[in-house]
Amino acid sequence: MKISVTLNGQQRDVEIESGEMLNFTLRERLGLTGTKRGCDSGGCGACTVLVDNKPVYSCMMFAAKVDGSELITIEGLQKDGQLDPVQKAYVDLYALQCGYCTPGFIMLTKALLDTNPHPSEEEVREALVGNLCRCTGYTKIVEAVMSLSRERR
């Protein structure tokens, strides 16, 4: 079957299998490997993308379900070679080490700040509950998000 989506601002049609997950479609059919495949069971958050501006786990989202939706992946954040402020904050504050979880964290952060521009630290920790990082111990990640929260005040 075929689905049509707006992917990072561009109209895309893609042929998929009926039971296929969005993570597979993005990585294997559309070549967008910035979105990671982690636990593959809705627990680690590395596969997080935005569907109609809401964060979802692409590993447990049927690709057929997003037909007609607007998708944003990590590749869609930079503009003309300039990093998105969220990406920049993660870099500036060393909120990553190996980088595998980072696309998921950044997409989640993006969605959080779009709906709540200056969250409290508690709200940040709560929002990030579905993303795991094995390197940073989360401290740096929370600091990066909080820096954006303050900046937007």
Binding site: M21, G43, P55, Y57, M60, M61, F62, K65, G130
Partner: protein, 292 residues
């Protein structure tokens, strides 16, 4: 990828179409809500015989409506959509719902998973069915152009077994008007932040002139379906909510909760002890809930 290899992913436009697909494919068709639990089952090697997935998103079942005190939740309402209905929870009557929804999973799941899915899946350690049952909710089921209402406690027959006949599917969850002054709360115990409930408890209680006038107490994850502790709830009625009253309710629960689920995560005895602790916490939280 897991066990699921459907030939078709269908988005019917009308209830009649859903029924016709269900009739055509029988046990090889599966209605999906957000699909998140379906995926987990598939990853565990189940659902290998499913040929058609039925997505209800074109049926307009994503509405929350209040009519004459009854709240109707469309099957496709997402968990985050339900949680965001602040006005619905202001007087504390339906307070168990946001309690249950808040810690139910990460935003990535709550944005996708649906109310209909959470109820129809019949997974005994889910949180929302326990909360809905404590409000005496019913499930509206559609098939062959007619619909019927089933109390959620009998709709969930057993593990993974909803009360659905051939051609039927869930359209709405109905939360009836609660008696004036009713307050509700939900509390769960988990082994870690991302895990399922070891035991959960939801309570709707009405206190009048210092004494309990009515109480409903439901426990989840202690059996294959939500367990309504009617005898225990009845020990509260007519009493002041003192420590002694809660002690005797906990004693009653000890007797009423026969043979709770025992598995690799927790023994039945441990679950019973947890249930007795949650009982106290939940009743107190419900009774002390204030209008916001």
């Amino acid at each position: 990828m897991g066990g699921l290899r459907p030939n078709y992913y269908l988005k019917p436009q009308t209830p009649a179409e859903v029924t016709s697909i269900l009739r055509q494919y029988k046990e090889h068709a599966l209605v999906i809500g957000g699909g998140t639990e379906i995926y987990e089952l598939s990853e565990r090697g189940f659902l290998t015989d499913i040929k058609a997935l039925i997505d209800l998103s074109k049926l307009g079942l994503n509405k929350i409506r209040t009519h004459d005190g009854e709240v109707s939740l469309g099957a496709s309402v997402t968990l985050s959509q339900l949680e965001s209905q602040k006005d619905l929870y202001r007087d504390g009557t339906l307070g168990c719902l946001p309690d249950a929804l808040h810690d139910l999973g990460p935003p990535q799941v709550r944005n996708v998973a649906t109310v209909g899915g959470a109820v129809t899946a019949c997974i005994p350690f889910f949180d929302l069915p326990t909360a809905l049952a404590s409000l005496d909710s019913a499930v509206e089921v559609n098939g062959e152009g007619s619909s019927r209402r089933i109390p959620i406690l009998s709709f969930q027959k057993d593990y993974l077994q909803p009360d659905l006949n051939e051609g039927e599917f869930v359209t709405r969850i109905l939360v009836p008007r609660q008696d004036k002054g009713t307050r509700s709360a939900f509390v769960k115990f988990v082994a870690n932040a991302g895990d399922w409930s070891l035991v959960n408890c939801s309570c709707a209680v009405r206190v009048s002139a210092g004494r309990v006038a009515a109480a409903r107490l439901v426990f989840g994850a202690v059996s294959n379906k939500p367990f309504s502790a009617e005898k225990t709830a009845s020990t509260l009625v007519g009493k002041e909510l003192t420590e002694e009253t809660l002690d005797s309710a906990a004693d009653a629960l000890e007797k009423e909760l026969v043979d709770p689920t025992s598995d690799g995560k927790a023994s039945g005895n441990y679950r019973r002890r947890l249930a007795k602790i949650l009982l106290r916490e939940t009743v107190k939280r419900a009774a002390s809930r204030e209008t916001r």
